[in-house]
């Protein structure tokens, strides 16, 4: 079942069409990537999902029913890009307050906070004020606060920005862990290499419209350019052939692009016939980064303001 369905969502502001007819579905238990350049409409979209903004038209279906912000926000955890916390408030107290606002009862919340603090090595922080923490530390705290009430849907906006590799890894592991336990996670980011590592399904939006929608594998396949990587013991001097062309020469390797209709076995046959030793042979799929740039380029990347009404 889909945990969330977006049907033709629209949100127009006076200076731009932030979200212009977007529809997609998110399966339960998925790790879902929401990608797009700056100004694409990601944050507006997320704010509609978390009940902070209301759509101008279109429907949100949460768990099979029409989305009701009052009762559904309890089942959603949101970590916005603006990493904010009450600076002067003590950490333990603050986590408790925010958990209670999400509907948790006091004893339950305190126990869970303690458990998480131990898990992420934050035990000594309980009575410290937020302003005493470094950025990385406060982000760990923010993450804990977001997932504390065991939400079914977790939304993370740029969760790794500002984290060092160790902490980034820590959070990544926790995300996988949560996904195993059945939570669905929406990830909004620019960092394509993370997306490739973590996400099952992605959606790319630009200028308020959806441009790509599919699993990572599907999209890569869609954009593949028939490029293959060949490991050869010795670089051959002359490769005159019409079944492929060499795109790049690298030490010990060739990057070749197959012509239309040519089979991989044809390539192998060629090399065998020519007595060239092949060490390895595999397809090179385009990186999401390249796909992103390709899809978004051509049209202006930076959003201009336009008159809507």
């Amino acid at each position: 079942m889909n945990i969330l369905e977006l049907h033709n969502l629209k949100k127009y502001f006076t200076t731009q069409k932030a979200v212009d007819d977007i529809s997609f579905n998110i399966e339960r238990g998925n790790i879902f990537g929401l990608l797009g350049p700056n100004g694409a409409g990601k944050t507006t979209l997320l704010r509609m999902i978390t009940g902070i903004l209301y759509q101008d038209s279109g429907e949100l279906i949460f768990n099979g029913k029409k989305y009701d912000p009052v009762s559904d926000t309890i089942r959603i955890g949101y970590m916005p890009e603006e990493r904010g916390l009450y600076k002067k408030m003590k950490i333990g107290e603050q986590a408790l307050y925010l958990a209670q606002l999400k509907g948790m009862n006091k004893e339950d919340a305190i126990k869970k906070i303690k458990d998480w603090f131990i898990k992420l090595e934050m035990q000594s922080w309980w009575n410290k004020k937020v302003e005493d923490l470094s950025k990385g530390m406060s982000q760990k705290l923010q993450f804990v606060i977001t997932v504390l009430h065991e939400p079914e849907l977790i939304i993370l906006d740029e969760p790794f920005s500002g984290l060092d590799p160790v902490n980034a890894n820590l959070i990544k592991d926790e995300i996988f862990d949560l996904s195993q336990k059945g939570s669905t996670i929406i990830f909004s980011t620019h960092r394509m290499e993370q997306v490739e590592e973590i996400c099952d399904h992605i959606v790319l939006i630009n200028k308020g419209k959806k441009i790509l929608d599919g699993t990572v594998a599907q999209i890569k396949n869609e954009f593949k350019e028939n490029i293959y990587q060949l490991g050869v013991a010795m670089l051959p001097e002359d490769l005159a052939t019409n079944i492929f062309e060499v795109v790049k020469y690298l030490p010990g390797q060739l990057l070749i692009k197959l012509r239309e209709g040519v089979h991989t076995n044809d390539v192998l046959e060629y090399f065998i016939k020519h007595n060239i030793m092949v060490n390895f042979f595999k397809e090179v799929l385009p990186s999401l980064n390249d796909i992103f740039i390709k899809k978004v380029e051509g049209t202006s990347i930076v959003r201009q303001f336009e008159k809507v009404y």
């Binding site: 009940g51 902070i52 912000p69 949101y78 904010g84 916390l85 009450y86 925010l98 606002l101």
Partner: protein, 436 residues
């Protein structure tokens, strides 16, 4: 609903447990009381120097009539001094009467500039001398005159009773009503200004801490706004209560430290009351007590609470709306605050200039319009207001704060999520009336 309670609790506790709150609450009244008593004490206990004044060229009538002012002025009639020599002879000043018994204007030469009080005392003594002289000429004895004045001054009082349409009457005391009206109006005025600013700053907290989105993803903006307004109100009420308790405890303690005569002096010095012959301070106190008993305190306190809370909520939501739209730049915030403070200040001006005529047209209107009613109506309550006007005023105030809260909610929900932009009144109005 319990989310609002959670928010109220948090707002209240974080402010009340703050060191600054505790400091201001406990220190301020102590500081103020010490200040008042201290200055009065100082003023009263500074020994006043006796001023010696040489008088020359007396036309004749002054010598027997110009009396010394014990402890302050000593007049010495002499013929041997001139305008230079008086200093060496130990005099502070030289009064030259020019042998003139008609003129009322004389010159006094002095070592140092005479202070105003001394100057006035000298003039008063000259007046008295002249009066004595006239009395003598007319054959009136001073003691008899004084006794007559004594008996007739301040011996008559009238009690005012207001008759209602049904014929019952109740005791009325205009000056007490004035006092009550003024002080309650003043209290409400001051409170709204101080707490308005506090609400505004409180509302900006989510923005400056950038936590607005996180909170709004858990509660509705309206709940957050109301939680803050009520939470801050409770902090204010707590502070008031503590101050009242402190003052009630401290006042008798402090006064017991000062000797009674000095206290008298101190009070007189700070209020410039000259105890007339017929009125001792004790009688005055008794009078006050009688007046106090004649007032229906319960009724006044109930109305006070109503207008206090009504006015607070009316204006607090406006301050909240303005705060939600401000950034950390305090310049912008201050300038947005001004248009809201103006009606508050204006209502106080109306109150203080028209309090002696509590039922004049301007007072009637100002006590019904919700912008000015909290301050102005309190000025009229003690003097009796027709019930239709009271009901109208209360109705409009309630309707008023429901309306301002509703509008503020709409502005708040948008303003609190916007960063970095300054907003014009036009835009705010647009949000206020835009259908959500």
């Amino acid at each position: 609903m319990d989310k609002i309670l959670l928010i109220i609790k948090r707002e209240y506790l974080t402010r009340v447990r703050n060191k600054t709150f505790l400091l201001t609450t406990f220190l301020l009244p102590i500081v103020i009381l010490l200040f008042i008593f201290g200055t009065a004490f100082l003023a009263a206990s500074t020994p006043e120097k006796l001023k010696k004044i040489a008088v020359i060229n007396d036309p004749g009538m002054f010598k027997s009539n110009l009396k010394n002012d014990a402890g302050h002025l000593n007049f010495d009639f002499t013929t041997t001094l001139d305008s230079v020599g008086f200093k060496n002879s130990g005099y502070d000043a030289l009064l030259d009467l020019n042998n003139d018994s008609i003129s009322k204007n004389f010159t006094i030469l002095s070592k140092e500039e005479l202070d105003i009080k001394t100057k006035e005392m000298i003039e008063a003594r000259l007046d008295m001398a002249f009066e004595n002289n006239l009395l003598e000429k007319k054959g009136i004895h001073k003691e008899i005159l004084d006794s007559i004045i004594n008996q007739s001054t301040g011996s008559f009082t009238i009690n005012n009773r207001r008759v209602s349409d049904r014929g019952s009457s109740e005791q009325v005391n205009a000056s007490l009503n004035y006092g009550i009206g003024f002080s309650s109006g003043f209290l409400i005025y001051i409170t709204m200004i101080i707490f308005g600013a506090m609400v505004m700053r409180g509302v900006m907290e989510e923005k400056t801490n950038r936590i607005a989105e996180v909170i709004i993803s858990s509660v509705k903006p309206f709940q957050l706004m109301m939680g803050k307004i009520i939470g801050i109100a409770s902090v204010g009420l707590t502070q008031f209560l503590l101050w009242i308790i402190l003052i009630v405890i401290l006042l008798p303690v402090l006064s017991s430290f000062l000797p009674h005569a000095l206290m008298q002096n101190a009070i007189e010095a700070s209020q410039n009351i000259h105890s007339g012959p017929g009125n001792s301070a004790l009688m005055k106190a008794l009078e006050l007590k009688q007046m106090a008993d004649s007032v229906n305190w319960l009724r006044i306190i109930c109305y006070f609470l109503f207008y206090f809370l009504g006015g607070y909520f009316f204006y607090a939501s406006l301050f909240a709306a303005v705060g939600s739209v401000s950034n950390e730049d305090s310049q912008g915030a201050q300038s947005l605050m001004l248009p809201i403070m103006m009606p508050i200040i204006f209502s106080f001006i109306i109150l203080s200039s028209n309090l002696t005529t509590p039922n004049s047209k301007i007072m009637v209107w100002a006590s019904i319009i919700p912008f000015t009613s909290p301050v102005v109506m309190m000025g009229r309550i003690a003097s009796g207001t027709p019930w239709e006007q009271l009901v109208a005023s209360m109705f409009f105030l309630i309707a008023g704060f429901v309306f301002t809260t509703w509008i503020a909610g709409k502005i708040y929900r948008i303003g609190i999520l916007m960063y970095g932009k300054r907003f014009s009144w036009k835009e705010m109005l647009k949000w206020a009336f835009h259908k959500s």
